[in-house]
Every structure is written in structure tokens, then in C-alpha cells.
């Protein structure tokens, strides 16, 4: 019934297409929970996590689209989309607010009386197949991820895909020293056709990692998604289900992308990808003037540094004020580092206040955290792993969620996680590896059950 309804609407002439529309339609997957980013994704989707002193992770893919001239795109959201939707808004920042095509935000919706959340990345696209079907001018669909940091021109990928007449092509990057157990690893033949695929192998045969970036001929994508939707065994995931199925049924190309590419999957990856920006050659490669990464910038005056020798090897955004010492760190707009305070090896997000004489080391502070006078957060060197999230906080990094308050003279150790709005009382200590639960104010909490899908 539902399917027929769809077809009729398309036949009825609501098809979009023709002049000015791109023949490539892009779908950006931005709905995942991102639980491996811990409390950074407590209140926001992973693509909305702040990055690099002024950006959010989603800026990279949206800027790549705009810079590639692919303006016809959809953003598929599901998990805590508010920050993401506010950030992306109409897409104007990236010139994606077009009168023809442009950026759409696709949220899960109710179909007639019933509705379901997206069951996986493939399901998210499947349930929006109508968007693809009605774009009659679209030849290929680009599937992208909202949580990658990279500067990539998608046009060579699409050109390669078309020249070789592959039904589908996947972008790959040299595996090199990446951990193969985190990637789909592919082998290629001499024609850049995929000859073998292993999912997260310990001993890989291939030397290319799949980037989770695909370009599909429209008909093949439609067919695969319909088959996958009917498969009750499937998790409806692109990497896990669609890609292996694709390789079984069709010739798939592999297009090599040589530039920097990082999937921000874990706290550690997030930290390293940020710190890498302190290398001038790297930041020039990721955000070069000819390939700008755009973001709806906070309009703030230039950063103000008052102390002598106060800032070394750091990235400091407009609107930050440094009266103390900052080293190997990234400061977002509105951060204030007071006199005698030291920030080292840390990522300090918007509006944090580091008060006089305090010390912050190897720590990620989410927005609006206060570190009181004389307090100390994080530290260098090894420490016992976090007792609740041992796999996420094991290398000594400390993490504080939004609006945490570390009162004067309190001490917070390494591998510590402080949940959003937590308050560490003056003079107390949080030992290495502790997890302090957040304390979201009642006014910001949803009452139980209020998210049920009633219209």
C-alpha cells in the first residue's frame, strides 16, 4: 500500500530535476549515537562535536560538498539532532541553501500510523529512497559520513566511478599504520576493482582501508537497499551489510584517496585529530585557502594575549583571552585563561573559564566548564584506566562534560570522566580513573516517556 502511494506520487509529477540540478545526490549519515566519544556526545550527535578551535566535525563533509560543487544533498539525522540542526540551519554557511536542490535535513518520520527509528545507516537511506527516486536527473548517489575529518574533492571519485563504469565505487585510503581491526580492508586487482574484502581483520591481506565513502549508480543502490530491507538477518548497516552484499553481486571499484582522513570514532581519535592541527603543514593540508572549511563562526574579536611568552604551539580562536600560559593546546572562542593558570596538551571548548593559578593538562573540557582558582585537572603520564569506560579513557586523558564546575583547589586526576554539570567541591580530590556522574539540572531533563513517538 505504502509503496504504491510513493510510486503514484512520483508519477504524479512531483519529480524534481532538470536544469541547474546536479546529477550527483549526496546523503550524509549523521544519525549515529557515537557512544565511543563518551560524554562529548551526551547532549549532541557525533557530527556536532566541536573540533579544531572553531569547527564542528560535520563542517568537513559539508565544506567538501560545497567545494566539490555538489550542492544537492541530504543530512540524515536521528540521535540528538538539535545541536546539529541549529548548526547546519539552512546550509547557508556552505552555500547549500539553493533554490533548486540544496541541503535537506531528513529526520525519521511517521509513515501513516506507525513509524520506526532508523535501524541502521542503510535503513536511514532506504526510508528516504523517495528522495532518490524523485530526482530523475541523478545518476549517482554519494554516501558520506558526518564524522570524518578530511579535505576531499569528491569529483575525482565520481569521475573514476563513471569512467570505469563501475556499478559502485568505494573510496579507500592506504591502510599503512592504521589498526586493521577497526576497518573494512579491501584488496584490489590491477584495474582498481575490488578483489577481496575482510571486515576488521587481525591479519589483513589487502592494503587499503575502506573510508566508508561510496558512490552508487542510482539503480544499484535502490536494488541493494530493497534487498537489505527485506533481510531480517541484516543490521541494515552500510559497512557491515550493504558493502559485503555489493561485492557479492557486482563489480566494485576502489578509488584511492591519498590525503589525510580520520574517522573520529573514539575519544583518543578525537584528541589526536585535534592535536595534529598544531602542525602547520597539517592544518594547511586540511583547511587550505583553496579548499576552505566553512563553519557558522561565532562573531568574536581577535584573541587577546596579555602575558609574555604566554602561548606556544597552540591554536587559539577569536574571542579567547589568555592571561596565563597555554602550550600544545586548542582554545575555542570565549575561553578565558586567567593569570598564573597553565593549560597544556588540552582541548578547551567555547566559554570555559580557567581561573587564576589553576592547571589543566591532557584534558578535554566541553563547553562552559569552570576550573576554579588553584584547582588542577588531569596530568601527564600513565594512570589506572577509567573504571566505567576502561576502553575509552586508558591513556591518561581526562574528560569533563558541559558546564562542569571544578571548585577552587579541587584536584581531578587522569583517565577521569566528569559528566555534564558535575560539581567537584572545593578542596576535594577525584582520583585517577574515577567516573563522576553528571548532574543535569532538572529543567534540562526530559521526563521519562516524553520521547515516545506520539504525533
Amino acid at each position: 500500500m505504502r509503496e504504491r502511494g510513493r510510486e503514484r506520487r512520483i508519477a504524479g509529477g512531483v519529480a524534481i530535476g532538470g536544469l541547474g540540478m546536479s546529477d550527483v545526490y549526496s546523503m550524509v549519515l549523521a544519525g549515529g549515537v557515537g557512544s565511543r566519544l563518551s560524554i562529548l556526545t551526551e547532549q549532541r550527535a557525533k557530527p556536532a562535536v566541536p573540533f579544531g578551535g572553531k569547527y564542528r566535525i560535520i563542517d568537513f563533509v559539508l565544506s567538501n560538498l560545497a567545494n566539490s560543487g555538489y550542492f544537492d544533498a541530504a543530512l540524515l539525522t536521528q540521535y540528538r539532532p538539535l545541536s546539529l540542526i541549529e548548526h547546519v540551519a539552512t546550509g547557508r554557511t556552505w552555500d547549500l541553501d539553493r533554490s533548486l536542490g540544496g541541503l535537506q535535513i531528513l529526520q525519521p518520520y511517521l509513515e501513516a500510523e506507525t513509524g520506526e527509528w532508523y535501524r541502521g545507516t542503510a535503513d536511514a537511506v532506504y526510508r528516504n529512497l523517495l528522495q532518490i527516486a524523485q530526482r530523475t536527473s541523478v545518476a549517482d548517489v554519494l554516501i558520506l559520513s558526518g564524522d570524518h575529518v578530511y579535505a576531499m574533492d569528491y569529483r575525482p571519485l565520481v569521475r573514476f566511478h563513471r569512467e570505469h563504469r563501475f556499478p559502485a565505487t568505494v573510496a579507500v585510503t592506504p591502510l599503512e599504520d592504521r589498526d586493521p581491526r577497526q576497518f573494512g580492508v579491501v584488496e584490489t586487482d590491477s584495474n582498481w576493482q575490488i578483489a577481496g574484502f575482510e571486515e576488521k581483520p587481525a591479519q589483513p591481506r589487502g592494503k587499503w582501508a575502506s573510508m566508508g565513502i561510496y558512490v552508487f549508480r542510482r539503480d544499484i543502490l535502490t536494488r541493494l537497499l530493497r534487498e537489505d530491507a527485506a533481510d531480517s538477518e541484516s543490521d541494515h548497516d552500510f559497512g557491515k551489510n550493504i558493502f559485503p552484499r555489493l561485492i557479492r553481486v557486482a563489480d566494485v571499484g576502489a578509488h584511492v584517496f591519498e590525503g589525510y582522513w580520520q574517522d573520529i570514532g573514539t575519544v583518543e581519535a578525537f584528541y589526536e585529530a585535534n592535536m595534529k592541527l598544531l602542525d602547520p603543514a597539517h592544518i594547511d593540508a586540511v583547511a587550505r585557502p583553496s579548499w576552505p572549511i566553512r563553519t557558522p563562526s561565532v562573531d568574536a574579536p581577535p584573541a587577546r594575549v596579555t602575558t609574555e611568552g604566554g602561548v606556544v604551539r597552540s591554536l587559539i580562536a577569536n574571542g579567547a583571552v589568555v592571561r596565563g600560559h597555554v602550550e600544545d593546546s586548542i582554545l575555542f572562542p570565549g575561553v578565558v585563561v586567567e593569570e598564573g593558570a597553565t593549560v597544556r596538551g588540552s582541548i578547551i571548548m567555547n566559554g570555559c573559564g580557567i581561573e587564576a593559578g589553576s592547571r589543566v593538562e591532557r584534558t578535554i573540557l566541553d563547553k562552559r566548564v569552570r576550573v576554579g582558582r588553584g584547582a588542577s585537572v588531569g596530568g601527564d603520564g600513565a594512570a589506572p584506566v577509567n573504571r566505567r569506560v576502561p576502553d575509552l579513557l586508558a591513556n591518561g586523558l581526562t574528560l569533563a562534560g558541559k558546564s562542569v564546575i571544578v571548585e577552587p583547589d579541587a584536584r581531578v586526576g587522569r583517565n577521569v570522566c566528569l559528566g555534564g554539570f558535575a560539581r567537584i567541591p572545593s578542596g576535594t580530590s577525584v582520583e585517577d580513573g574515577e567516573y563522576v556522574d553528571g548532574d543535569l539540572p532538572a529543567t534540562l531533563r526530559l521526563s521519562a516517556g516524553s520521547v515516545r513517538g506520539s504525533p
Binding site: P280, I283, V305, V312, R313
Partner: protein, 396 residues
């Protein structure tokens, strides 16, 4: 503000700002690392809820028009009102440049007429200040004035740059002297007016002179009870010349700075380029300075303003200077007490200006190239590069 509009006078060609105003109108001169002078006026309008603004541009109007655009950075892209840049245009009776403030308004009386505004602010767009115009409006209303002139304090040593006003505590204007040698009154006219629309129209049509304060209002000042003064007590500075421009930047480096650009209650908006945050390399040594996004610092920077895209290479020294967008100070170069306009290259080992307190400020025009090892004497002005002049119409 309902039924109120503003004309922002973007100025003609100011000689005071030397080569800084050669490729752009004064209102478009960069300020504080990421702003332009007109940002203060437009931001004050928006923060005062005054949403209909016409910018009157004469000199190099293209750059200003491109910068203001549809007014999005200031939230002035509106269905009703918003911002427009009005350039001189050809009429049936022929084309004329704006000959002065009054003339510019006279040529655009139709804009005022069509706006339906009952009151109109006339603002000078080359001031650095934060002012809530609604206070002026309130005072104007309460004193039943036909015209209110906004005055601000200036030090006695500087009265010769201003028109000085005498007024009683209620704001009745008792006298006015243009650029006097000395003045018993500390109140300078700031170039900010609020008029009843009908009164302004009548004045403009009855008089012939080109200048609003001298020719049109001058004869009435001290004679007409309907002209009132408003006393503004906050920080303001006019960018009358290189010395004032330089001094205003030095005040930004004081703690606390004046004006406070970091005040969330009265933000100054601007249209900025998309650039990565300022990057400080391991060899950077910085002290008491402002750094805009896009700055790249590997050398020494002290008491200076570093604008977007400026590179200070390793081994370079910048002291007490203002470096505008996209310029580069190469290895071993020393820049002291200088203002360096956009896209300048100070070659390796070159020397620009000198620290001595007494030495004059050195100014390097847009796009100029200082050759490696060259020395630019303190107080000299290096002209704008020809290439920068050629595209001055397109961008600044």
C-alpha cells in the same frame, strides 16, 4: 525603533588616514584586527533596534557596497527596512558627486520620504564607539527638540580637530565653534544627529550649503531653542588621522581595553573571512597583542594587532604595530611603530620603523613589497602598490 531610520555617512576621501584610505572609503578602513570602522555604526544601530539604515558612500563605494552586502552579519537583511548602500547616481538633470553631508542627504531626500520615518538619525560612520541610540531618542523626545546633536568629551589639547559645543545642563545649545584654537567647553560635536524628518527636509530645502553642521545648522546654533545637545559620556574616538588610528589600537591593548569588544551585551558584528584559528608555532613569543583567526605566528610579537591571514615568520620581530590582513613579515625582519596595510610583504631582514617614542609612525600602503634587507625610515609612508590601486574598486 519604529518609524526611525538612519543615514550613515561613510565619508568622502579622507586625507587624514593617508594611504589607508586611498583604496577604500574611511568607513571601510580595517580596525582591531577583524573589523571595519562601519561595523561600529551598523552594530550600534542593530543593538539599538534601529533596523533601517542607508549608507551614503561616495569615495570607493564599490568596496563598501561589497562589504555591507545585504547586511547579513549585522542582521540587517530584513524584509522591512534593512541596510542599503546609496551611491551617487545619474539623474535626468545630470550626475553629481556628493559635495558634502548636506548635499548627500539632499540628493537622497526621496529615500527619506519613501521610508515613512518620522525621525532620522544622521551618523558618522568613521567613529569607534558603542552607543545606544535609543537614549538619544528618549532625550530628544523628552526635550521636544526638532534636532538633537550628540556631543562627547575630548581632551583640551584636541579641540582644534572638532566642532565644540556649548550647552546648558538641559541641553539648550548656547554656542558652537568649528575647530577652535582653544575652547572653554569640553564637549565636541560627534557628527551624530537626530532630526524630526519634517524639520530636516525643510532645512535642506531652504538652504543651499553642502555641509550639514556648518552651512545648514550653523546659522541656527545658539539661536534656535529647538536644537538640543545630548551629552554622551562613553568612550569614543574618531579616526581623523594616522595618529588617532594608531592610538585607538594602543587602547585596545590596555587592560581593560577601550572599547570593550568582548562585551556580550553590546557586540560588534563584522563580515569576516573564514579562516582557521590563530596558530602559534613552537618558536612563537608573544606578549600583549591581539591575534585574529588565520594569523600564523612563529616569530616575536609584542604590543601589536595581528589581523587575519598575517604571517610572522620565525626570527621576525613585530613591536607596537598594526598589521592588516594577509601581510607577511619574513624571517629576520623587524617592524616597529608601524601600520602595515593588507597584502604587504616585508622581506627577510628588512627593517620598518623604529621603536623610539618620539619617532613618527611608519605607514606601508596596501600590497607594497619591502625588499629583503631594505630599511624604511621611521615616519615614512610607502605608497600603495599599483596592483592594489587597480583592484581597489573591486575589493579592499
Amino acid at each position: 525603533m519604529k518609524r526611525v531610520m538612519a543615514f550613515a555617512l561613510a565619508g568622502g576621501r579622507s586625507s587624514g588616514l593617508s594611504v589607508l584610505a586611498q583604496t577604500r572609503s574611511v568607513a571601510a578602513v580595517p580596525f582591531a584586527g577583524k573589523f571595519r570602522l562601519i561595523d561600529f555604526t551598523l552594530s550600534n544601530c542593530v543593538n539599538s533596534e534601529l533596523y533601517t539604515v542607508a549608507v551614503l558612500a561616495q569615495y570607493a563605494p564599490l568596496s563598501l557596497a561589497a562589504y555591507v552586502g545585504r547586511g547579513e552579519p549585522w542582521d540587517l537583511n530584513r524584509r522591512d527596512g534593512g541596510v542599503t548602500v546609496l551611491q551617487p547616481y545619474v539623474r535626468q538633470e545630470g550626475a553629481r558627486w556628493y559635495e558634502g553631508t548636506a548635499d548627500a542627504l539632499r540628493q537622497n531626500l526621496d529615500v527619506l520620504e519613501n521610508s515613512g520615518a518620522e525621525r532620522v538619525f544622521v551618523l558618522s560612520a568613521d567613529l569607534v564607539y558603542k552607543m545606544d541610540y535609543s537614549w538619544v531618542l528618549e532625550h530628544h523626545w523628552a526635550s521636544r527638540a526638532e534636532a538633537t546633536l550628540v556631543t562627547g568629551r575630548v581632551p583640551y589639547g584636541e579641540v582644534s580637530r572638532f566642532g565644540m559645543l556649548d550647552a546648558d545642563p538641559e541641553g539648550r545649545i548656547l554656542g558652537y565653534v568649528e575647530k577652535p584654537g582653544s575652547s572653554p567647553w569640553p564637549w565636541a560635536f560627534m557628527g551624530i544627529y537626530l532630526f524630526e524628518t519634517a524639520f530636516l527636509k525643510q532645512l535642506l530645502l531652504e538652504t543651499r550649503g553642502a555641509d550639514l553642521i556648518i552651512d545648514v545648522l550653523g546659522p541656527r546654533l545658539g539661536q534656535d531653542e529647538r536644537l538640543r545637545a545630548y551629552f554622551y559620556e562613553g568612550y569614543w574616538d574618531d579616526m581623523g588621522g594616522i595618529r588617532e588610528y594608531y592610538r585607538a589600537h594602543q587602547r585596545l591593548l590596555e587592560d581593560p581595553p577601550a572599547p570593550d569588544l568582548y562585551d556580550p551585551e553590546w557586540r560588534i558584528y563584522s563580515r569576516s573571512e573564514e579562516m582557521v584559528p590563530a596558530l602559534f608555532e613552537p618558536s612563537a613569543r608573544v606578549e600583549r597583542s591581539l591575534f585574529a583567526n588565520g594569523a600564523r605566528v612563529a616569530g616575536n610579537v609584542e604590543r601589536s594587532i595581528i589581523s587575519p591571514g598575517v604571517h610572522v615568520d620565525r626570527g621576525a620581530i613585530v613591536r607596537d604595530s598594526i598589521i592588516l590582513n594577509g601581510s607577511r613579515v619574513c624571517h629576520g625582519a623587524v617592524v616597529e611603530r608601524a601600520i602595515i596595510d593588507k597584502d604587504v610583504v616585508v622581506g627577510a631582514g628588512a627593517r620598518v620603523g623604529r621603536m623610539a617614542e618620539a619617532s613618527e609612525i611608519t605607514v606601508i600602503g596596501k600590497g607594497a613589497e619591502i625588499h629583503p634587507g631594505a630599511a624604511v625610515a621611521p615616519g615614512s609612508v610607502v605608497p600603495v602598490a599599483l596592483s592594489a590601486l587597480l583592484d581597489a574598486g573591486a575589493r579592499t
